[in-house]
Amino acid sequence: MDVFNSLMDGFATALTPMNLLYAVIGVVLGTAVGVLPGLGPAMTVALLLPVTYVLEPTSAFIMFAGIYYGGMYGGSTTSILLNTPGESSSVVTAIEGNKMAKAGRASQALATAAIGSFVAGTIGTALLAVCAPIVVKFAVSLGSPSYFAIMVLALLAVTAVLGSSRLRGFASLGLGLAIGLVGMDSVTGQARLTFGQPLLSDGLDIVVVAVAIFAVGEALWVAAHLRRTPLHVIPVGQPWMGKQDWKRSWKPWLRGTLFGFPFGALPAGGAEIPTFLSYVTEKRLTKHPEEFGKGAIEGVAGPEAANNAAAAGTLTPMLALGLPTNATAAVMLAAFTSYGIQPGPQLFASEGPLVWALIASLFIGNFLLLIINLPLAPLWAKLLQLPRPYLYAGILFFATLGAYSVNLQAFDLVILLVLGALGFMMRRFGLPVLPLILGVILGPRVEGQLRKTLQLSAGDPAGLLSEPIAVGIYIIVAIILIWPLLLKAWRTSRPQAVPAAGAAGPLPQDVEAGSDVLMAEAESGARVAESTGSNNQPVHARRHQEEP
């Protein structure tokens, strides 16, 4: 079997002692940075990007695989022990995870999260290895018109489906596209938006943009609203699970994986929707409904698995189509590009060994994560107590270092500060960050495909519709754009359409909160994720108001 042989070759590359060492470094660094409050996986990857620049591509990507899963795992530790996750994909884990930790079951919560992540990550990576070549086979038949359509879909889906305000999403997308325009036009060589500044003619370095928006913007934003009373970190020992915990965890792990992978692979799928779906499903299927809301292990196992499977799913369109669907993948795409490697259907043919080594190291990284993090959990918990002045000064320090070391130009630091201020403003006024980042990265590619398409059709706009796939995708785009109107029409015709949320258990208020989640999510993707960002109070609070 072809996939199997390629994968075995990948393992042979990834398991050399040096590459294994890079994988270990990646996992440890990724987890350590991911655990730190205020640093999500995307920021972790962006901050650690310069470190990989000196390595040769294969080793660099092996390290990346570790950083990627490590950053993911680190985020869940934070949300279980602190209950105020910064990443919307960890919100659901925090609901039950933190309750478990408060009830003295932090060890079990961390264990089910770690083992669930391992199970889901392994199955997800296996699905990636099987699916990516199939997607590639399909994708090589696509021409520029279809690619143009797919990229437009990805941009619009991320902008219109995620986030609480479509208007603000589009504003953010516009800013990102404008930033992406800066520099020399690739076809005619004309300088755009450079204002006669020669340092701008190569465009803005994506590392600088990502570090500015994620790290500098976040540090400035937190500085403006720094919590003066220290958060309570729940102390934790060695994670372990009893027989009962295993029995209650394994089904949620598998179900979470099934939710996570396909959603991760869709444009704008992300990890928010599958984690919510998994949570709601586990709540309905559980034999211990009375524990939900007080720390049910199923509510940690399922969403955590969904989260990690989505992370693996995200890599399918990233590797096979060159299409990032979340911020972390976008930053990874930037890393690929900086090595002169173009993700997309040709990648598997031109850089086969590299891709398979990357996929193999995802398996290895996952395994390392499990054996390194179970014993290290108490240490990670200590990291959460790092004094905040040091933490945020350190983020600024390393952000500066990372951005400066790319080109060794002080000018990049000016851009870092200006875009950092933009990131601050976006957080203040609720502009989502993801459309901007995707706009910066995909903008130039979309333009390239548009020009290639119209070049082939000699300027006839009908060329955009010359492939059936493209036409199909435009129909989906149209549905996404008019969806809110349809929903509004549907709601006016059926005003009280709340689905019955299973049998009302001893905690009817909480069961209802779950169906609230489902409803709200059906309306607008991750709006709930945003509104429950600080903790899950708003859902419950809203419920209380509705109580007669």
Partner: protein, 167 residues
Amino acid sequence: MTPLTSRLKGRSELGVALLLGAAGVLVLWDAVGLVTPYSKSDPVGPKTVPYIVAGLLMVCAVMLAINVMRGGHGETEGGEDVDLSHPADWKTVLPLAGAFVANILLIDWAGWVISGTVLFWGSVWALGGRHYVRDGLISVALSLLTFYGFYLGLGISLPAGLLEGIL
């Protein structure tokens, strides 16, 4: 709080609309200035996409302004260490930005070890660290460590600046 400031406070998001509009005008103005002869091999040309982006930005600016005037507002982002119950603390942010600017001005002339020390120490101070000596030692150690780490480990030589020859 006077009525005027409270009215301005509620509408500070109009600044975002203004920024979007300004960005749109800028992109448009830049695109108009491009000189392109029509070419068969590139019927789209370098101007089309900037026009679309400029249009998107300006439409968003207008719609956002309308949205804000009607009482809409963006959802402020929360986080682990974010406490939204108090207003933005400019006494922290401005010195922090100051430390950042100092680093930009110093890095090429004084070198990374000095500018990085200033950046870290200044940031810690701005964020409320008051262990001057301990913070100073950590700053110097971090800067030296990253300087040598980047040089020996990654082969990137950060500027030595004033300490050229000593380091």
